[in-house]
């Protein structure tokens, strides 16, 4: 029986938010303001001017300004980050219960889902926290990218556009042009070393956030998500201005430190975890014996399909949530019962 939900009350806070939203929509429709002007006023201009001002007082180094900005942003997002990390930690702690539940409801997938959600609620885990982490940083990435493009003046058009974004104080005008060199980097160009650092830090952070059970799974999607995201970030770090890479690397280093403080090294402390899928080899024929190291994924089945078919994500701060719903790892008993799980997982 469903629990009775508390009645909604229209309190002052909601009323204010509602009024703000209505006002905003009215102004947008009336053409008084535009999405671009809101974006510029709230995010782009403050960030751009902050970067230029900080770089002016730090020997003209735009790179150090980016690093400082990253630290400031991470501080602002600290509560959200910690909530996610604690959620990840809780996810690791409930792994035994999830396994048990999975065994119990092997044949009833709907029930398994309900019970999983109940367990999440009890443990204070918010499964959508991962997406919110990405979403909360998206505007920052885009604004930082735009700030870099305009402040570093790739083209005369960028410099011309910068004139409209700078605040009044003369110090900002005098700070121009921005020095786009830092160590060996040209902040306006992509850089191979930065690309490797970005890819590596994304991989480390993703791996730390994984649960051992989730890491034990395999499959094409897992490969793509474990390795694909670092490679993707690496590729874009190589192609996009290295100022953005600097943000990613700094942010990831901070993320690694926080992750370590809360969840430890995760699967990184396991011997050669990244190569485990190679040791396990390719999917075996149906009649071949299971691998000794227990690498095969899949557990119980329902109607010929594996119940546990979730793939893990390698993105920073995210994978635990997703892998949590994987509902545990693989037991030797299960492997004995279904030696062809690996094959079926790939078929799925």
């Amino acid at each position: 029986m469903a629990e009775a939900r508390p009645a909604r009350t229209l309190n002052i806070r909601r009323l204010v938010i509602l009024l703000l939203v209505v006002t905003l929509i009215s102004l947008l429709i009336a053409g008084v303001i535009s999405i671009t002007s809101i974006w510029n006023t709230i995010l782009l201009r403050p960030m751009l001017n902050f970067l230029i001002l900080v770089s002016h007082y730090l020997l003209g180094s735009f790179a150090i300004a980016i690093i400082i900005l990253t630290i400031v942003i991470r501080l602002l997002l600290f509560p959200l980050t910690m909530r996610q990390l604690k959620s990840s930690k809780a996810m690791q702690l409930i792994q035994p219960k999830l396994k048990e539940m999975q065994k119990k409801h092997t044949k009833d997938r709907a029930r398994l889902g309900q019970e999983t959600m109940r367990l999440y609620r009890e443990a204070g885990i918010k499964p959508v926290g991962c997406a919110s982490s990405i979403l909360s940083q998206m505007p920052i990435w885009i604004a930082l990218y735009q700030s870099g493009v305009q402040a570093l003046a790739y083209t005369p058009e960028n410099l011309f556009g910068l004139a409209k974004q700078l605040y009044s104080p003369m110090v900002l005008q005098q700070a121009l042009p921005i020095n786009h060199h830092f160590l060996w980097l040209d902040l306006r160009q992509g850089n191979l070393v930065m690309a490797l650092l970005v890819a590596g830090s994304v991989w480390i952070l993703g791996s730390m956030a994984q649960t051992p059970a989730a890491a034990a799974q395999q499959g094409f999607m897992k490969l793509v998500m474990r390795w694909g995201l670092p490679l993707l970030f690496g590729f874009f770090a190589f192609t996009l201005p290295s100022g953005l890479s600097l943000y990613w690397v700094t942010s990831n280093i901070i993320g690694i430190i926080l992750q370590y403080r809360v969840t430890g090294w995760g699967i990184l402390k396991m011997p050669l975890p990244s190569m485990s899928f190679l040791k396990r080899g390719l999917p075996r024929p149906v009649n071949s014996p299971p691998a000794k190291n227990g690498g095969a994924a899949g557990t119980g089945k329902k109607g010929g399909r594996t119940v546990v078919e979730q793939e893990s994500s390698t993105h920073a701060d995210c994978s635990s949530h997703e892998q949590g719903a994987v509902a545990g790892g693989v037991t030797p008993q299960q492997k004995k019962k279904s030696p062809d799980n690996c094959e079926r997982q790939h078929e799925d």
């Binding site: 990218y145 410099l159 011309f160 004139a163 409209k164 003369m170 005098q174 874009f236 192609t239 996009l240």
Partner: protein, 394 residues
């Protein structure tokens, strides 16, 4: 119900979409477009197009005399190698995320940030990607080319037998106008986006390093420098021994052309000075990005009008004087005719539907205006009426 696979997929998708957006932004936000302008010589207009071509047009009717490169060359011009969409970095050029900018048929477009220079029956143009071309003005055939191996975001100046061009690696380069060989080069501290001005054997140019440089034209040695409070991209105006220029520090300066000593400073603007000023009868006319046009007394920098003229948008284009009228273009495409003495608006034209960022070109009482939608207009300066308008890249 929560679906972990879906969430996982969503996360990855979000990251991919974001990175894709950034990549797309790389194409949109970084790529140059240019603001080509027009130069007149006799009855012929020489105009750069947004696609990187050069056209010779009949000034009276706007009909095409010739175009460069000719259609037969469009597949294999050197511009396809080092031109359009390729950001030059030192000795190498590379495409940014494969962005190649606009294309015209088989031919990759180049970018101009100035009007072609015309001298000695030859047209000289500098492409953003670093290639300088000399083209025969009569027939539109290439005479020579020189790769200065750096971005060119300024105009070229030709005096006697020398072509002067600034580069984004901080050089002012002097080339032999006859064959394109290097005569000398001067290294400044930062990018040179200001078109040089050459008067009485001295080359004046501004630099993003805040300095205005004066060099001896014969050998490129430094005569003097003056440090302003911000970058200088405007073309210096030299009149009667005085150098006039504006800076990003929102100030307008007058210097002694011989010594570089400061004569006066005007600090009443709220925006950057980007364009070259105009001069007439002891008054300097300067457009600012704060939307204003200032008339300054050339002797002391005081305001010559009762109040500055307020345009509808930033004034990046250089104002010109045509038929006794000061013609000013605002960024949003509005054109104004102003009284030289009082600054009173005589007319306003708002039929240009695109941005105007290029310098204006005046001949008699006709003003030629390039707009960012790749059109060229001829405008009567006395009435503001359109004489003709054509699309440059069809």
């Amino acid at each position: 119900m929560f679906n972990a696979r879906r969430t996982s997929f969503t996360t990855t998708l979000l990251a991919v979409v974001l990175l894709g957006t950034l990549a797309l932004g790389g194409c949109i936000g970084i790529g140059p477009r240019g603001w080509p302008a027009t130069q007149i010589s006799g009855d012929t207009l020489y105009v750069g197009t947004m696609a990187g071509r050069v056209l010779a047009l009949n000034a009276a009717r706007g009909t095409t005399k010739w175009e460069w490169p000719p259609e037969t060359q469009t597949g294999n011009t050197p511009r396809a190698r080092s031109g359009p969409g390729n950001i030059s970095t030192g000795n190498a050029t590379r495409s940014f995320l494969g962005c190649s900018g606009a294309t015209t048929g088989q031919f990759k477009a180049g970018y101009f940030y100035a009007a072609p220079a015309v001298a000695n029956g030859t047209i000289y143009i500098g492409y953003y990607a670093g290639m300088v071309y000399a083209i025969d003005a009569a027939e539109g055939m290439e005479a020579w080319r020189h790769d200065i191996r750096s971005v060119i975001a300024s105009g070229l100046t030709v005096v006697d037998d020398t072509v002067f061009v600034g580069s984004s690696d901080g050089r002012l380069v002097a080339l032999d106008a006859g064959n394109g060989s290097l005569k000398w080069e001067f290294n400044a501290e930062n990018e040179v986006w200001s078109t040089p001005t050459v008067v009485d054997g001295v080359t004046y140019f501004g630099c993003l390093d805040h300095n205005l440089y004066a060099l001896n034209t014969s050998d490129g040695t430094k005569k003097w420098t003056f440090e302003a409070g911000g970058p200088i991209v405007s073309t210096p105006l030299v009149v009667e021994g005085v150098v006039y220029f504006g800076s990003f520090d929102r100030k307008f300066y007058a210097l002694n052309a011989d010594t570089g000593a400061l004569k006066w400073t005007f600090a009443g603007s709220g925006g950057w000075f980007w364009s070259e000023a105009a001069y007439d009868g002891g008054t300097i006319y300067a457009g600012s990005l704060d939307h204003n046009v200032y008339a300054l007394d050339a002797l002391n920098g005081s305001l010559a009008w009762a109040k500055p003229f307020k345009a509808s948008a930033a004034v990046k284009s250089s104002p010109v004087i045509a038929g006794g009228v000061l013609v000013v273009a605002a960024e949003d495409g509005k054109i104004y005719g102003l009284d030289l003495k009082t600054g009173e608006q005589q007319w306003e034209s708002s039929w240009i539907r695109a941005k105007v960022l290029s310098h204006l070109c005046a001949a008699g009482s006709t003003v030629y205006i390039n707009s960012e939608d790749d059109r060229l207009y001829a405008l009567d300066s006395e009435s503001g009426r359109e004489i003709w308008g054509i699309t440059l890249d069809k």
